[in-house]
Chain length 423, copies 2
């Protein structure tokens, strides 16, 4: 094992405590031979026997059948994993950043060495999303994946929603409880979710998708007022990872993005609370599948790592191999302009007969079709707030419609424009 | 392929239409060589080329690399599958009744022939429950599985709940729409769910569990009044398949059962509507995982069959094998008396000071601890209806408490006793 933090400690503890179970399941006894850490003399959980600790990560990586990488980040994880493959080891990792950045290189090295490369723990903890996409969907065509894959941001948004906190207050609570790190950038700016979105899209669409292919927007700009408005519209705000296949008159390829969106309250993703994760896969034959569970934490992540360990070990005993990289479809990766989504547009209008007809006309002119209109509140005098939800529309059409609205005399103000996901 | 009904037709159609995709995923072109049906000259969907049809099932079973069995029932499916294994074929099936009755024999035959035995489609259609239990949980200890695994009964109960229909009315609707068969026994009496519960329990607990080990109660006796009472208690009634591990002072082993139960409205299983399925797995490290999707129907079931086809085909190309039977834990199978569940007990009591204390005393005397008490309605005069929800209790304790209540003068009537699942 390389690295020994919260997850690693649980992995070692379970391998040692339940060694009979693992022997029965893998078909051979699993021996923990070494745990490489930066400082072998630092105090740590006594679940990890001191005699296993070493600071010689290269030796651990190159002298074992199975190597579990839990260091995280790009280097030295990448170099060590490549060394492990060259030395004939199968590798299990939960390193989403590394896979999103160097997945093809790692897959190629594993294939060249004829060993396994497993990474269930990289996406949504113990929820078997990687497996579902790599193997359960092997007989089907995935059309979209919509997921809450970052527990920290879901916790923050849930606190804002249920307790009326501001973003800063909710972030502070999340930090106190250990759900968010002192530097929360990777979570709140959507980078962690983006790495997972890249992995999900690669697997779902049999196409190489890297971190740079993902359009990312985090949750820093979500305000308590936005959440109140969302509630008034019967919605919750969730940070979503979205991987979508387009094959229509206007575009062919895949759109991969991470951004906050309104989700209708009766949609299954709206009721994912706290730090939980959920992933919704839509496929041509299977229809809609949803997976829900704990997306992070030592024990759930260890469960995912250990299922991969058993699979890789069973291959050593009985033959066989993990799925190789599947990139045969090689679909074009579309830019942010190709995202097809619904929008909620709030306007302050002059409340005279005909105002709604004018507004509807502007949307129609720009090929944006309207799903619902709600006159939400009289602001006083002759002004009204109108909330419009559109059907799926292209960004360019929506932006043109909004520009058109701004130039109408009857439209006093465009209050907000938000994306809506989940039908 | 053996049998060619709704699922089989979809399987053939997809294999032919998407043969490039399947070749890329399996590592070799998949050729459909024959489809054995009872009457090769009967009219059928043109998705299945006539020249593939044959009535010689034995030849199909014994002259191919992969055999897909979709006949259903025990014979001739069992004999044909055993013949296929002996002839060196890997077998993919969705036959839950056969596996629940003869699983160990089939596993042994597959192992002897060193071929694969896959059956994802046997439980919950396209939802990868078999995989999740066979492989994702291989690094974890499952403590319980709670599932809605029969779409027909969930459809009926959902119609009763949302439209106030009687059981007979809802059944008739389900039959009209094709959700229930003309003879609905296997569904409404819980036998289909019981076969799935046996499979789930075998995989979850690494122990052989057959249909006879499952305590079964169907939904025929659920009335519209029961559903109204459930709503008054903030619950829905669901037919649940339950596989539970006990390892406490009173019992060690597994309890497997199918019965209707109250589920609190805010529990994820309560919002599973229509013919959808959902399975909730609780495991020591992973915590709670939920899977949700279409549990039946031609296309979703075909998706499950085809994922198994790709896996079995990939093993032919690259080596490796499907997981073998895992029954090493060999836990005792407990009788219905070992089920630990919560109960809701409704009583009509004489509404005088001290009545509640007497009722509470009876529960305490029989070691049944109370979770909540609600005085739900005044029946008139000095009578009140009291609804008590207990913590988890053994059947024997609960029955003794109910007998004790009946013998109390203050208790005028025990109106109902129902199980409550889902916390």
């Amino acid at each position: 094992m390389l690295g020994c933090g919260t997850v690693g400690t649980q992995v070692v503890r379970l391998l040692l405590e339940q060694s009979e179970e693992f022997a029965a399941r893998a078909g051979a006894r699993l021996e923990v031979t070494g745990v490489a850490v930066r400082d072998a003399s630092a105090p740590r959980d006594q679940a990890v026997p001191r005699e296993l600790l070493t600071d010689d990560a290269t030796r651990v990586a190159t002298s074992n059948d199975l190597v579990i990488e839990l260091i995280g980040g790009i280097e030295p994880a990448r170099t060590l994993i490549l060394a492990a493959f060259r030395a004939g080891a199968s590798v299990i990792t939960g390193n989403k950043a590394l896979i999103a950045a160097h997945g093809p290189e790692l897959y190629a090295a594993a294939a060249a060495a004829e060993v396994d490369f497993y990474y269930e723990a990289a996406v949504a903890g113990a929820i078997p999303v990687v497996y579902a996409l790599r193997e359960s969907m092997a007989g089907d065509l995935v059309t979209s994946v919509l997921g809450i894959v970052n527990g920290t941001t879901n916790y923050i948004l849930d606190e804002m929603s249920t307790k009326g906190l501001s973003f800063d207050q909710a972030l502070a609570t999340a930090q106190e409880l250990g759900y968010a790190e002192a530097d929360p950038t990777a979570d709140v700016d959507g980078l962690d979710a983006a790495a997972k979105a890249a992995i999900i899209a690669s697997l779902a669409f049999h196409t190489r998708v890297g971190l740079d292919d993902v359009t990312v927007e985090g949750i820093r700009s979500v305000t308590a007022a936005d959440i109140r408005e969302a509630h008034a519209s019967g919605c919750e705000i969730k940070l979503l990872a979205i991987a979508q296949r387009r094959d229509d008159d206007h575009a062919r390829g895949i759109s991969v993005r991470v951004h906050p969106a309104l989700v209708p309250a009766d949609h299954p993703l709206a009721s994912v609370h706290g730090a939980f994760n959920a992933v919704l896969i839509e496929a041509q034959s299977a229809g809609r599948l949803m997976f829900y569970g704990q997306g992070a934490g030592g024990a759930p992540t260890a469960s995912a790592v250990l299922s991969d360990v058993v699979a890789a070990a069973a291959h050593r005993v009985h033959g066989g191999q993990a799925p190789r990289e599947s990139s045969y479809a090689d679909l074009p990766i579309l830019g942010p302009e190709a995202a097809l989504t619904r929008y909620q547009v709030q306007l302050r209008v002059d409340d005279q007969p005909g105002s709604l007809a004018i507004v509807a006309g502007v949307f129609a002119e720009h090929e944006v079709s309207i799903d619902s209109v709600r006159q939400s509140a009289y602001v006083g005098g002759s002004r009204a707030v109108v909330t419009i939800v559109t059907h799926r529309a292209a960004v360019a059409h929506l932006e043109a419609a909004v520009a058109g609205l701004r130039s109408e005399a009857r439209v006093l103000d465009v209050v907000s424009v938000q994306r809506v996901e989940g039908e």
